[in-house]
């Protein structure tokens, strides 16, 4: 009985504001739901650009065909490996850079600018620079260093293609992690570090007991944001390995591209898209859970 009145008030307020909210909510719904509905519809259609005569309801065959193809499982694993590896690398380096660039040293402003730099290089350009200038087994800088040290240069995209992709994508995303974590570092109360010093904490212990707990929330945010973008990585793969050799660097995103615009199988590609949405939601669920735990500090 006690909360009947607030409930009524809440309902009345909703009635008043609903007409005002409708346009915004409506646009968002259309924006999100129309493409999703179209993808769902196509995923159950026979729809091949090469042969327009094949049409009609396909049932689950698009999904069956996709899931049973050898590339499918590999692409999901590749996707997860890449996201996980890049997340670990960018977070470790991001925390390291954030702590480092938070210190006073001459030329700090320039150093900060440089560490943010890769963020402004578009993915295609970044991947081409890495492929042709750095990782090329004949003319690349890495090959030169390896040779001058007496090692055989590694042909990255043949022998360690996934490691190569992870390196490029990590290079692009370290600045983002650094930027977010550096701003978080600047809000850390210096007296906490001093108090920890007085309490006998050395560098690693200050990191473990003061800095990392302080950064836990921004770290979760970086994880969330990066995951969203990393699940959709495409240009880097396209310009370096085209998903190969074999399926070694084919992610789900890239597989969908291959289905749609190499095999012209729109139905199969749509089925892949639906699975990608489900996969992204599963990953998001885990992340949101960890955020919820973190936010309730």
């Amino acid at each position: 009985m006690a909360n009947a009145k607030p409930k009524m008030q809440h309902r009345a307020k909703l009635m008043r504001t609903w007409p005002l909210l409708t346009p915004a909510v409506g646009v968002l719904l259309l924006w999100a739901l129309v493409p999703l509905a179209m993808t769902l519809w196509f995923s159950f259609q026979r729809y091949n650009l090469v042969d327009p005569t094949i049409s009609g309801f396909a049932g689950w065959s698009n999904y069956k065909f996709l899931v049973e193809s050898p590339a499918f499982l590999a692409s999901i694993l590749n996707e997860l490996v890449m996201v996980a590896a890049v997340l670990v690398i960018t977070l470790v380096l991001g925390v390291a850079f954030a702590v480092l660039y938070d210190q006073e040293f001459p030329g700090r402003a320039i150093a900060r600018l440089l560490v943010i730099g890769p963020f402004f290089v578009m993915p295609t350009v970044a991947a081409l620079i890495w492929k042709n200038l750095l990782m090329d087994p004949v003319n690349g800088v890495f090959a030169y260093i390896a040779r001058s040290l007496g090692f055989t240069p590694l042909d990255w995209f043949t022998h360690a293609p996934m490691a190569g992709e992870v390196m490029i994508v990590s290079w692009e995303w370290v600045p983002f992690a650094t930027l977010i974590l550096l701003t978080a570092m600047q809000s850390l109360d210096r007296q906490q570090i001093e108090a920890a010093k007085m309490d006998g904490a050395r560098g690693p212990q200050i990191l473990r007991y003061v800095i990392l707990p302080h950064l836990s929330r921004p770290i979760t945010i970086v994880m969330m944001m990066e995951t969203i973008y990393l699940l959709a990585v495409f240009a880097e793969i396209f310009v370096t390995t085209s998903g190969g050799p074999g399926h070694a660097t084919t992610t789900l995103t890239y597989l969908i591209y291959q289905k749609a615009l190499v095999a012209f199988d729109v139905g199969g590609a749509s089925a892949g898209g639906v699975i990608a949405v489900i996969l992204a939601n599963i990953v998001a669920l885990f992340l949101i859970r960890s955020v919820a735990r973190n936010v309730d500090l």
């Binding site: 906490q192 920890a196 007085m198 309490d199 006998g200 007991y209 707990p213």
Partner: protein, 359 residues
């Protein structure tokens, strides 16, 4: 046991010297308060003692051992920070036990020591709370508890009450005084509030612009300020400082002509024509039927227990007078003031005190 010796201690940032040679000995179990206006270097000096700031020159000795290069935790001192600096993700008990945990003290002993400190500070019921769920006063007590648990040789307080509201400040001030009485350990306390300094200190050190102006017990500083700075800093309301010129010397007394034209006799033999500053405490001035200093009352503050009047005597600053609450003072009225006893102070042109008999 903890004696601290500061020998010609200096601190410079680049070419800017902020501590310009401080010599001071702090005795065992003494409560010493560093006081001074903001930017005078008192906090920097405390941080140098703590080991949080490097020492640019001079020596710091704890119990006779030179500790200039010793890291903060090895000096055996505990510090209470102005912002409390509690670890936000740890509960009260973990905050207090953190130093012991790092030092590898077994859990049972840790818990016992935290329990003792918590009892002293009435934190028993709050041990499971996070700092975010505590009030300002409670956080302050946890910060003090964190220091106590370490059983340090000396406590360092860096303006610990400045984030508390007025009522809580008075209460916590009393608690800190009690704590010093119970623990009987050396304490160094930095503040810009001269009331905190006067009430807590065994000895007060007055700083100005990186130098010590005067060291002494609260009453020494109050009655015999060594110079104009200390005279103006200690006491509330501020001491009246009036420019004057010696016009006549007669035996052991001199006649001063104050700014604004009034005459004032002081019991000292001064060179005629010398420029001096006369210091009169507002609480040492009383109403006189006639003669003395005459001034028109400009502002009256009725505080209940006392009345403070500001009178224009023709000098640059109005004369501040502290009177009893029932004193017949009306705005715009011209009153006559006389000094109670011989409680005047006199300063020469360099601002140094001139000794007067009977003060």
């Amino acid at each position: 046991m903890c004696t601290l010796e500061l020998k010609n201690l200096r601190k410079a940032y680049g070419n800017v010297e902020v501590i310009k040679g401080v010599d001071l000995t702090i005795n065992d179990r003494e409560f010493v308060v560093f006081v001074g206006p903001s930017g005078c270097g008192k906090s920097t000096l405390l941080r140098m003692i703590a080991g949080l700031e490097e020492i640019s020159g001079g020596e710091l000795l704890i119990d006779g051992v030179r500790v200039n290069q010793v890291p903060p935790d090895k000096r055996g001192l505990a510090m209470v920070f102005q912002s409390y600096a509690l670890y936000p993700h740890m509960n009260v008990a973990d905050n207090m036990a953190f130093a012991l945990r790092l030092a590898g003290v077994p859990k049972a002993e840790r818990d016992a020591r935290v329990a003792v400190a918590a009892k002293t500070l009435q934190l028993d019921a709050l041990l499971d709370r996070k700092p975010a769920n505590l009030s300002g006063g409670q956080r302050q007590r946890v910060a003090i508890g964190r220091a106590i648990v370490r059983q340090p040789k000396a406590f360092l307080f860096d303006e610990p009450l400045s984030n508390l509201d007025a009522a809580l400040r008075v209460q916590t001030r009393i608690e800190i005084a009690k704590l010093h009485n119970d623990l009987k350990s050396t304490m160094i306390y930095v503040t810009h509030d001269q009331i905190e300094a006067m009430t807590l200190a065994d000895r007060i050190v007055v700083f100005n612009a990186g130098r010590i102006e005067q060291v002494g017990t609260p009453l020494e500083l109050y009655h015999n300020p060594a110079n104009l700075f200390v005279a103006g800093f200690i006491g509330s309301p501020k001491m009246n400082l009036i420019g004057a010129e010696v016009v006549q010397t007669d035996g052991s007394a001199s006649m001063l002509k104050l700014e604004g034209g009034s005459g004032f006799a002081v019991p000292a033999r001064l060179a005629p024509g010398a420029k001096v500053t006369l210091g009169l405490r507002p609480e040492h001035i009383e109403l006189a039927p006639e003669g003395g200093l005459a001034g028109k009352v400009e502002v009256v503050e009725h505080l209940g227990n006392e009345t403070i009047a500001y009178a224009d005597i023709g000098a640059a600053q109005p004369l501040t007078v502290k009177l009893s609450s029932d004193a017949p003072v009306r705005l715009g009225e011209t009153l006559h003031f006389a000094l109670r006893g011989h409680a005047a102070s006199l300063f020469d042109e360099q601002g140094q005190a001139i000794a007067l008999p009977g003060t």
